[in-house]
Protein backbone atom coordinates (compact mmCIF):
# COMPACT_ATOMS: atom_id res chain seq x y z
CA UNK A 1 0.00 0.00 0.00
CA UNK A 2 2.76 2.38 1.03
CA UNK A 3 4.76 1.33 -2.00
CA UNK A 4 1.79 2.09 -4.27
CA UNK A 5 1.44 5.55 -2.74
CA UNK A 6 5.20 6.11 -3.10
CA UNK A 7 5.11 5.03 -6.74
CA UNK A 8 2.18 7.36 -7.43
CA UNK A 9 3.87 10.32 -5.76
CA UNK A 10 7.13 9.59 -7.60
CA UNK A 11 5.28 9.47 -10.92
CA UNK A 12 3.55 12.76 -10.08
CA UNK A 13 6.88 14.30 -9.17
CA UNK A 14 8.41 13.03 -12.41
CA UNK A 15 5.62 14.57 -14.48
CA UNK A 16 5.95 17.85 -12.61
CA UNK A 17 9.71 17.83 -13.07
CA UNK A 18 9.57 17.05 -16.78
CA UNK A 19 7.06 19.88 -17.23
CA UNK A 20 9.27 22.26 -15.24
CA UNK A 21 12.36 21.34 -17.21
CA UNK A 22 10.53 21.61 -20.53
CA UNK A 23 9.13 25.03 -19.69
CA UNK A 24 12.46 26.42 -18.53
CA UNK A 25 15.01 24.64 -20.68
CA UNK A 26 15.92 27.71 -22.69
CA UNK A 27 16.23 29.90 -19.56
CA UNK A 28 18.51 27.39 -17.88
CA UNK A 29 20.61 27.02 -21.00
CA UNK A 30 21.06 30.80 -21.29
CA UNK A 31 22.15 30.92 -17.68
CA UNK A 32 24.57 28.03 -18.30
CA UNK A 33 26.06 29.96 -21.20
CA UNK A 34 26.75 32.92 -18.95
CA UNK A 35 28.76 30.80 -16.52
CA UNK A 36 30.69 28.42 -18.73
CA UNK A 37 33.28 28.76 -21.43
CA UNK A 38 33.00 25.44 -23.22
CA UNK A 39 30.14 23.37 -24.51
CA UNK A 40 31.20 20.43 -22.33
CA UNK A 41 31.06 22.61 -19.22
CA UNK A 42 27.70 23.97 -20.32
CA UNK A 43 26.31 20.47 -20.65
CA UNK A 44 27.73 19.50 -17.28
CA UNK A 45 26.22 22.56 -15.66
CA UNK A 46 22.84 21.96 -17.28
CA UNK A 47 22.98 18.40 -16.00
CA UNK A 48 23.92 19.55 -12.50
CA UNK A 49 21.12 22.12 -12.41
CA UNK A 50 18.63 19.46 -13.54
CA UNK A 51 19.82 17.13 -10.74
CA UNK A 52 19.55 19.86 -8.11
CA UNK A 53 16.08 20.89 -9.32
CA UNK A 54 14.94 17.29 -9.12
CA UNK A 55 16.28 17.03 -5.57
CA UNK A 56 14.78 20.34 -4.50
CA UNK A 57 11.37 19.91 -6.11
CA UNK A 58 9.72 18.32 -3.03
CA UNK A 59 10.80 21.34 -0.95
CA UNK A 60 9.04 23.84 -3.24
CA UNK A 61 6.07 25.06 -1.24
CA UNK A 62 4.72 27.63 -3.67
CA UNK A 63 5.66 30.59 -1.46
CA UNK A 64 7.76 32.16 -4.21
CA UNK A 65 7.05 32.14 -7.93
CA UNK A 66 8.30 28.97 -9.58
CA UNK A 67 10.62 31.03 -11.79
CA UNK A 68 12.13 32.76 -8.73
CA UNK A 69 12.66 29.43 -7.03
CA UNK A 70 14.18 27.95 -10.19
CA UNK A 71 16.54 30.86 -10.79
CA UNK A 72 17.66 30.78 -7.17
CA UNK A 73 18.65 27.13 -7.41
CA UNK A 74 20.10 27.41 -10.90
CA UNK A 75 22.18 30.46 -9.97
CA UNK A 76 23.53 28.83 -6.82
CA UNK A 77 24.54 25.76 -8.79
CA UNK A 78 26.06 27.91 -11.54
CA UNK A 79 28.10 29.97 -9.08
CA UNK A 80 29.36 26.88 -7.30
CA UNK A 81 30.09 25.22 -10.63
CA UNK A 82 31.98 28.25 -11.82
CA UNK A 83 34.03 28.27 -8.59
CA UNK A 84 34.72 24.52 -8.86
CA UNK A 85 35.65 24.77 -12.53
CA UNK A 86 38.32 27.31 -11.74
CA UNK A 87 39.80 25.02 -9.08
CA UNK A 88 39.40 21.57 -10.58
CA UNK A 89 41.98 19.83 -12.69
CA UNK A 90 40.97 19.13 -16.25
CA UNK A 91 39.51 15.65 -16.64
CA UNK A 92 39.25 13.60 -19.76
CA UNK A 93 35.91 12.06 -18.78
CA UNK A 94 32.92 14.30 -19.14
CA UNK A 95 29.23 13.70 -18.77
CA UNK A 96 27.86 14.46 -22.15
CA UNK A 97 24.22 13.58 -22.15
CA UNK A 98 22.63 16.51 -23.85
CA UNK A 99 23.22 17.23 -27.46
CA UNK A 100 22.86 20.82 -28.38
CA UNK A 101 21.73 21.30 -31.94
CA UNK A 102 22.27 24.86 -32.95
CA UNK A 103 20.98 26.41 -36.08
CA UNK A 104 22.36 29.92 -36.04
CA UNK A 105 20.14 32.85 -36.88
CA UNK A 106 19.96 33.55 -40.59
CA UNK A 107 21.29 37.01 -39.96
CA UNK A 108 25.08 37.03 -39.46
CA UNK A 109 24.90 40.37 -37.71
CA UNK A 110 22.47 39.01 -35.08
CA UNK A 111 24.70 35.99 -34.49
CA UNK A 112 27.74 38.21 -34.05
CA UNK A 113 25.85 40.45 -31.62
CA UNK A 114 24.69 37.45 -29.58
CA UNK A 115 28.27 36.20 -29.33
CA UNK A 116 29.42 39.69 -28.44
CA UNK A 117 26.76 39.98 -25.73
CA UNK A 118 27.79 36.61 -24.31
CA UNK A 119 31.43 37.70 -24.26
CA UNK A 120 30.57 40.94 -22.47
CA UNK A 121 28.43 39.13 -19.90
CA UNK A 122 31.15 36.55 -19.32
CA UNK A 123 33.59 39.38 -18.62
CA UNK A 124 31.46 40.71 -15.73
CA UNK A 125 32.28 39.80 -12.11
CA UNK A 126 30.17 36.86 -10.92
CA UNK A 127 27.67 38.76 -8.75
CA UNK A 128 27.17 41.41 -11.43
CA UNK A 129 26.75 38.66 -13.97
CA UNK A 130 24.00 37.03 -11.87
CA UNK A 131 22.14 40.32 -11.56
CA UNK A 132 22.54 41.13 -15.26
CA UNK A 133 21.48 37.67 -16.42
CA UNK A 134 18.32 37.95 -14.33
CA UNK A 135 17.71 41.45 -15.66
CA UNK A 136 18.09 40.25 -19.24
CA UNK A 137 15.70 37.42 -18.39
CA UNK A 138 13.24 40.24 -17.66
CA UNK A 139 12.96 39.53 -13.95
CA UNK A 140 11.64 42.45 -11.91
CA UNK A 141 13.87 44.17 -9.32
CA UNK A 142 11.81 42.48 -6.61
CA UNK A 143 12.42 39.04 -8.12
CA UNK A 144 16.14 39.74 -8.56
CA UNK A 145 16.26 40.86 -4.95
CA UNK A 146 14.53 37.64 -3.81
CA UNK A 147 16.81 35.45 -5.88
CA UNK A 148 20.13 37.08 -5.06
CA UNK A 149 19.41 38.19 -1.50
CA UNK A 150 20.37 41.81 -2.33
CA UNK A 151 18.02 44.64 -1.35
CA UNK A 152 15.84 46.10 -4.10
CA UNK A 153 17.66 49.44 -3.82
CA UNK A 154 20.98 47.71 -4.14
CA UNK A 155 19.69 45.78 -7.17
CA UNK A 156 18.59 49.07 -8.77
CA UNK A 157 21.97 50.69 -8.18
CA UNK A 158 23.85 47.66 -9.39
CA UNK A 159 21.76 47.29 -12.54
CA UNK A 160 22.23 50.90 -13.45
CA UNK A 161 26.00 50.55 -13.06
CA UNK A 162 26.21 47.16 -14.83
CA UNK A 163 24.02 48.38 -17.70
CA UNK A 164 26.49 51.15 -18.41
CA UNK A 165 29.35 48.71 -18.23
CA UNK A 166 27.61 46.24 -20.53
CA UNK A 167 26.59 48.85 -23.07
CA UNK A 168 30.12 50.26 -22.97
CA UNK A 169 31.52 46.79 -23.63
CA UNK A 170 29.09 46.25 -26.52
CA UNK A 171 29.97 49.60 -28.09
CA UNK A 172 33.67 48.97 -27.60
CA UNK A 173 33.38 45.57 -29.24
CA UNK A 174 31.38 47.01 -32.10
CA UNK A 175 34.00 49.71 -32.53
CA UNK A 176 36.73 47.07 -32.45
CA UNK A 177 34.91 44.96 -34.97
CA UNK A 178 34.68 47.85 -37.37
Amino acid sequence: MTQTTDTKSTTGRETEFVQLLNDNKARIMRLCKAYTASREDREDLFQEIAVQLWKALPTYRGEAQISTWLYRIALNVALRFSYDTKRRKPTSERISWIEETTSHPEDDHTRERIEQLQRCIAALPEVDRSVMVLYLEECSYKEISEITGLTETNVGVKISRIKDKLLGCMRKDEGGAV
Binding site: K33, Q47, P105, Y135, S140, K163
Partner: protein, 203 residues
Protein backbone atom coordinates in the same frame (compact mmCIF):
# COMPACT_ATOMS: atom_id res chain seq x y z
CA UNK B 1 8.84 46.16 -12.99
CA UNK B 2 11.87 47.28 -14.87
CA UNK B 3 12.17 50.94 -15.65
CA UNK B 4 11.92 51.48 -19.40
CA UNK B 5 12.34 55.27 -19.31
CA UNK B 6 15.93 55.23 -18.11
CA UNK B 7 18.64 56.41 -20.50
CA UNK B 8 19.92 53.66 -22.74
CA UNK B 9 16.72 51.67 -22.10
CA UNK B 10 16.14 51.13 -25.81
CA UNK B 11 19.58 49.61 -26.12
CA UNK B 12 18.97 47.48 -23.06
CA UNK B 13 15.64 46.31 -24.46
CA UNK B 14 17.48 45.32 -27.63
CA UNK B 15 19.98 43.41 -25.53
CA UNK B 16 17.15 41.68 -23.66
CA UNK B 17 15.64 40.65 -26.96
CA UNK B 18 19.03 39.52 -28.22
CA UNK B 19 19.57 37.54 -25.03
CA UNK B 20 16.23 35.77 -25.43
CA UNK B 21 17.09 35.01 -29.05
CA UNK B 22 20.36 33.37 -28.05
CA UNK B 23 18.57 30.06 -27.46
CA UNK B 24 15.63 30.45 -29.84
CA UNK B 25 17.17 28.31 -32.51
CA UNK B 26 18.65 25.68 -30.29
CA UNK B 27 17.22 22.34 -29.47
CA UNK B 28 18.49 19.70 -27.15
CA UNK B 29 18.42 16.00 -27.63
CA UNK B 30 19.81 13.33 -25.42
CA UNK B 31 22.91 11.63 -26.64
CA UNK B 32 21.56 8.32 -25.49
CA UNK B 33 24.60 6.27 -26.38
CA UNK B 34 26.98 8.66 -24.63
CA UNK B 35 24.74 8.68 -21.59
CA UNK B 36 24.58 4.90 -21.46
CA UNK B 37 28.36 4.61 -21.87
CA UNK B 38 28.87 6.94 -18.95
CA UNK B 39 26.24 5.20 -16.83
CA UNK B 40 27.71 1.79 -17.63
CA UNK B 41 31.12 2.91 -16.38
CA UNK B 42 29.55 4.00 -13.13
CA UNK B 43 27.56 0.79 -12.90
CA UNK B 44 30.72 -1.31 -13.40
CA UNK B 45 32.28 0.54 -10.50
CA UNK B 46 29.13 -0.02 -8.45
CA UNK B 47 29.19 -3.74 -9.29
CA UNK B 48 32.83 -3.96 -8.26
CA UNK B 49 32.20 -2.24 -4.92
CA UNK B 50 28.79 -3.68 -3.98
CA UNK B 51 27.72 -6.38 -6.46
CA UNK B 52 24.10 -5.86 -5.45
CA UNK B 53 21.89 -8.68 -6.77
CA UNK B 54 24.68 -10.30 -8.80
CA UNK B 55 25.16 -14.04 -9.12
CA UNK B 56 28.71 -13.87 -7.71
CA UNK B 57 27.42 -12.26 -4.54
CA UNK B 58 24.54 -14.74 -4.25
CA UNK B 59 26.89 -17.71 -4.65
CA UNK B 60 29.29 -16.26 -2.07
CA UNK B 61 26.48 -15.63 0.44
CA UNK B 62 24.97 -19.06 -0.20
CA UNK B 63 28.33 -20.71 0.43
CA UNK B 64 28.84 -18.76 3.65
CA UNK B 65 25.31 -19.56 4.74
CA UNK B 66 25.87 -23.29 4.14
CA UNK B 67 29.22 -23.29 5.93
CA UNK B 68 27.86 -21.50 9.02
CA UNK B 69 24.72 -23.66 9.07
CA UNK B 70 26.89 -26.79 9.10
CA UNK B 71 29.13 -25.25 11.75
CA UNK B 72 26.07 -24.37 13.82
CA UNK B 73 24.67 -27.88 13.47
CA UNK B 74 28.04 -29.28 14.49
CA UNK B 75 28.10 -27.06 17.60
CA UNK B 76 24.55 -28.10 18.51
CA UNK B 77 25.37 -31.77 17.87
CA UNK B 78 28.43 -31.67 20.13
CA UNK B 79 26.61 -29.48 22.64
CA UNK B 80 29.06 -26.54 22.64
CA UNK B 81 26.90 -23.60 23.81
CA UNK B 82 29.84 -21.18 23.74
CA UNK B 83 30.24 -21.75 20.00
CA UNK B 84 26.52 -21.70 19.16
CA UNK B 85 26.01 -17.95 19.61
CA UNK B 86 29.02 -17.13 17.46
CA UNK B 87 28.02 -19.48 14.63
CA UNK B 88 24.38 -18.45 14.82
CA UNK B 89 25.41 -14.82 14.47
CA UNK B 90 27.44 -15.53 11.37
CA UNK B 91 24.75 -17.76 9.90
CA UNK B 92 22.17 -15.00 10.38
CA UNK B 93 24.50 -12.45 8.80
CA UNK B 94 25.07 -14.68 5.77
CA UNK B 95 21.33 -15.33 5.56
CA UNK B 96 20.45 -11.63 5.67
CA UNK B 97 22.93 -10.91 2.86
CA UNK B 98 21.62 -13.87 0.89
CA UNK B 99 18.00 -12.74 1.28
CA UNK B 100 18.95 -9.18 0.31
CA UNK B 101 20.89 -10.09 -2.83
CA UNK B 102 18.38 -12.82 -3.74
CA UNK B 103 15.45 -10.39 -3.49
CA UNK B 104 17.22 -7.79 -5.60
CA UNK B 105 18.11 -10.45 -8.19
CA UNK B 106 14.47 -11.55 -8.29
CA UNK B 107 13.29 -7.95 -8.78
CA UNK B 108 15.89 -7.44 -11.53
CA UNK B 109 14.24 -10.20 -13.56
CA UNK B 110 11.07 -8.13 -13.87
CA UNK B 111 12.84 -5.45 -15.94
CA UNK B 112 13.34 -5.57 -19.68
CA UNK B 113 17.09 -5.06 -20.14
CA UNK B 114 16.74 -4.20 -23.82
CA UNK B 115 15.28 -0.73 -23.33
CA UNK B 116 17.38 2.11 -21.94
CA UNK B 117 14.58 3.26 -19.68
CA UNK B 118 13.98 -0.08 -18.03
CA UNK B 119 17.71 -0.71 -17.78
CA UNK B 120 18.15 2.60 -15.95
CA UNK B 121 15.12 1.88 -13.76
CA UNK B 122 16.62 -1.48 -12.84
CA UNK B 123 20.00 0.04 -11.95
CA UNK B 124 18.25 2.74 -9.95
CA UNK B 125 16.34 0.06 -8.05
CA UNK B 126 19.61 -1.75 -7.26
CA UNK B 127 21.28 1.43 -6.01
CA UNK B 128 18.24 2.37 -3.89
CA UNK B 129 18.12 -1.13 -2.39
CA UNK B 130 21.82 -0.93 -1.55
CA UNK B 131 21.32 2.46 0.10
CA UNK B 132 18.36 1.12 2.11
CA UNK B 133 20.31 -1.92 3.18
CA UNK B 134 23.31 0.09 4.30
CA UNK B 135 21.28 2.81 5.95
CA UNK B 136 18.60 0.72 7.66
CA UNK B 137 19.57 -2.94 7.98
CA UNK B 138 23.30 -2.78 8.64
CA UNK B 139 23.09 -0.43 11.67
CA UNK B 140 20.46 -2.73 13.21
CA UNK B 141 22.41 -5.87 12.43
CA UNK B 142 25.81 -4.75 13.66
CA UNK B 143 24.94 -4.33 17.39
CA UNK B 144 23.15 -7.72 17.40
CA UNK B 145 26.16 -9.41 15.87
CA UNK B 146 28.56 -7.75 18.28
CA UNK B 147 26.33 -8.67 21.24
CA UNK B 148 26.23 -12.29 20.16
CA UNK B 149 29.97 -12.29 19.50
CA UNK B 150 30.73 -10.96 22.95
CA UNK B 151 28.37 -13.45 24.58
CA UNK B 152 29.78 -16.30 22.55
CA UNK B 153 33.38 -15.55 23.39
CA UNK B 154 32.90 -14.34 26.94
CA UNK B 155 34.44 -17.48 28.47
CA UNK B 156 37.04 -18.16 25.82
CA UNK B 157 40.78 -17.79 26.03
CA UNK B 158 42.31 -14.31 26.24
CA UNK B 159 43.59 -14.77 22.68
CA UNK B 160 40.00 -14.79 21.45
CA UNK B 161 39.30 -11.61 23.39
CA UNK B 162 42.11 -9.98 21.50
CA UNK B 163 40.78 -11.33 18.21
CA UNK B 164 37.31 -10.09 19.14
CA UNK B 165 38.64 -6.61 19.79
CA UNK B 166 40.42 -6.70 16.47
CA UNK B 167 37.20 -7.81 14.74
CA UNK B 168 35.29 -5.06 16.51
CA UNK B 169 37.85 -2.49 15.50
CA UNK B 170 37.88 -3.63 11.87
CA UNK B 171 34.06 -3.72 11.77
CA UNK B 172 33.87 -0.17 13.03
CA UNK B 173 36.36 0.89 10.42
CA UNK B 174 34.33 -0.85 7.73
CA UNK B 175 31.14 0.80 9.00
CA UNK B 176 32.87 4.14 8.89
CA UNK B 177 34.14 3.43 5.39
CA UNK B 178 30.71 2.32 4.22
CA UNK B 179 29.20 5.64 5.36
CA UNK B 180 31.64 7.40 3.08
CA UNK B 181 30.75 4.94 0.36
CA UNK B 182 27.09 5.90 0.66
CA UNK B 183 27.72 9.60 0.39
CA UNK B 184 30.52 9.41 -2.17
CA UNK B 185 29.40 6.53 -4.36
CA UNK B 186 25.76 5.64 -3.87
CA UNK B 187 24.05 9.03 -3.54
CA UNK B 188 25.76 10.58 -6.60
CA UNK B 189 25.05 7.45 -8.66
CA UNK B 190 21.39 7.47 -7.57
CA UNK B 191 21.06 11.13 -8.53
CA UNK B 192 22.72 10.57 -11.89
CA UNK B 193 20.44 7.64 -12.67
CA UNK B 194 17.36 9.61 -11.65
CA UNK B 195 18.45 12.55 -13.74
CA UNK B 196 19.22 10.33 -16.73
CA UNK B 197 15.78 8.74 -16.43
CA UNK B 198 14.18 12.16 -16.27
CA UNK B 199 15.95 13.20 -19.42
CA UNK B 200 14.88 10.03 -21.18
CA UNK B 201 11.30 10.58 -20.06
CA UNK B 202 11.48 14.15 -21.24
CA UNK B 203 12.48 13.24 -24.78
Amino acid sequence: MQNSDAPGSKEIQDLQQLWQESTTNESFTIKERAMMTHINKEISNFNLLFGTGQWGQIILDSSLFCIFTLELLEAIWHNKPDKIAFRLAFMLTALSFLVFHGTVKFKMRTFNHNTSREYLQMQLMRVKQEINFREKTTPLLSPVIFGLLILGFWNDLPLWSIILLVILFISLQIANFSKKLISKELYPLRDKLQSALQQLNEH
